[in-house]
């Protein structure tokens, strides 16, 4: 069966599986992101830990620091998904076998898995190093999942835009931070609530709406972002 006869999700899954297989062989993206996350965690713990701030003052600070670590760790690795295709010259082949929406869906799925790996390392380590108490684990999991979906989709779409631009690593940070700010701010608010034991409905609704809007926009504009 040729790739073009497969359905949208089968082809997207094939793109995701290809990236996962490549990553399984080289482990460069995962290794470098996790190393960056560990370094950032150690730095934050070293910088904030000695101050011994009271618990109520720490709630907002800890949530903000956690999301800053997650955002910058993700920013070091997630844009690689499409940039690597251009650097290795495989972008043209990928364009020939799959339309932009399929490529972005597959790459976003792989980036989401990568984000989950970052979060699985960062969140428990952060909690241990900074003695961060989480009263509602279910609420925290919901925030991390919703935040991860948005972060993966927006990062993948933007990496498609900057893949063939000059200075793409710096450019990715320049274009991604303002677009991800509406995701990071409610994620931080919902994380503060989760650490205090409550399920913050309003910020979580904003995250769901943001994820939905970003998914639709990325799907509709994928062709323009990735076509030759």
């Amino acid at each position: 069966m040729t790739p073009t006869r497969l359905g949208f999700w089968s082809r997207a899954w094939a793109v995701c599986a290809k990236d996962a297989a490549q990553e399984g062989k080289r482990r460069i993206a995962l290794g470098s992101i996790l190393f960056f996350a560990a370094t950032a965690l150690a730095l934050v713990s070293y910088a904030v830990g000695p101050f011994g701030l009271p618990a109520d003052a720490r709630a907002s600070l800890d949530a903000a620091l956690l999301w800053i670590i997650l955002f910058f760790s993700a920013a070091t690795g997630l844009p690689r998904a499409l940039v690597r295709e251009e650097e290795t010259g495989t972008g043209l082949a990928l364009r020939a076998v799959a339309p932009g929406a399929v490529v972005i869906a597959g790459k976003a799925a792989f980036n989401f898995l990568l984000f989950l790996a970052i979060a699985a390392l960062s969140v428990p380590t952060f909690a241990v190093l900074l003695e961060w108490r989480i009263e509602s684990s279910a609420a925290l999991v919901a925030v991390v999942l919703l935040g991860g979906v948005g972060l993966s989709i927006v990062s993948t779409f933007l990496s498609a835009l900057v893949a063939r631009a000059g200075q793409r690593n710096v450019l990715f940070l320049v274009v991604s931070f303002p677009l991800l700010a509406p995701l990071l701010l409610p994620a931080i608010a919902a994380t503060v609530a989760a650490s205090q034991g409550s399920f913050a409905a309003a910020p979580l609704r904003v995250l769901v709406a943001y994820d939905g809007a970003a998914t639709c926009a990325a799907y509709l504009l994928a062709g323009a972002a990735w076509e030759d």
Binding site: V154, F157, L161, V162, R164, A165, G166, Q167, R168, L171, V174, V175, F177, P178, L179, A181, P182, L183, L185, P186, A189, A202, P203, V206, A209, Y210, A213, A214, C216, A217, A218, L221, A224, A225, E227
Partner: protein, 215 residues
């Protein structure tokens, strides 16, 4: 457009005169600070309108691949950045009088700062791509993607976080809490700033067309 240009000067002069001479300062605000509403809100409105116009022309470009639409979208973003910067300046003046500091990290202040970064990034993105056709396509995709996520930054996030900012025109009660002279000058200002933007956009787009052969 020539008529618009000729009418704009006396019209805006009348709006400014009305803002300072006809309307009484609003209650609950220090000194004359409430008069900033006649300039600050229209600047914010015009900035948002400019970015929506940029999204509209970007969509038109992606559908037609007509370079003229791309140059209008580019001009609209540049003007949007100008009006967003004016929004921040006028907002900071108000903040200094009312809250004692030019910058307070209020969610609404921050949202317009992030909006400046968001569309400043559009200019960086354009500058980083050499091929004109690819530059126009990527810029159009970014402008449309930003237009979808911009409402979260400007309208949604500031409403789910605590803010010092006075109640906005679009408030939860769905009522415009202004007396008749204030309302008249306010909406006249909105109209004037919108017309000013359209005139500037026409000028910028015409300039871009003249410059195009040498690009």
């Amino acid at each position: 457009m020539k008529l618009l240009k000729l009418l704009l000067l006396p019209y805006m002069a009348a709006v400014i005169a009305g803002a300072f001479l006809w309307v009484e300062p609003a209650e609950g605000f220090l000194g004359e600070s409430s008069r900033i509403v006649f300039f600050h809100v229209p600047c914010a409105w015009t900035a948002a309108l400019a970015f929506l116009v940029a999204a509209g022309y970007s969509l038109a470009y992606l559908l037609s691949r007509n370079a003229r639409f791309d140059s209008v979208a580019h001009a609209a973003v540049r003007l949007g950045l100008l009006f967003a910067a004016l929004t921040l300046v006028t907002g900071s003046l108000f903040a200094r009088i009312m809250w004692g500091s030019f910058w307070n990290w209020d969610p609404r202040e921050s949202s317009y700062l992030l909006l400046l970064f968001l569309y400043g990034a559009y200019l960086f993105l354009r500058a980083a791509v050499d091929d004109p056709e690819r530059r126009a396509r990527i810029a159009a995709a970014y402008a449309l993607f930003s237009a979808v996520l911009m409402p979260f930054l400007v309208f949604v996030v500031p409403r789910v976080t605590r803010s010092l900012h006075p109640q906005t025109v679009i408030n939860p009660q769905g009522k415009i809490l202004m007396d008749t002279p204030t309302k008249t000058v306010f909406f006249a200002g909105l109209l004037g700033f919108t017309a000013l933007f359209l005139w500037l956009l026409e000028l910028e787009a015409r300039g871009a067309r003249v410059r195009q052969p040498t690009n």
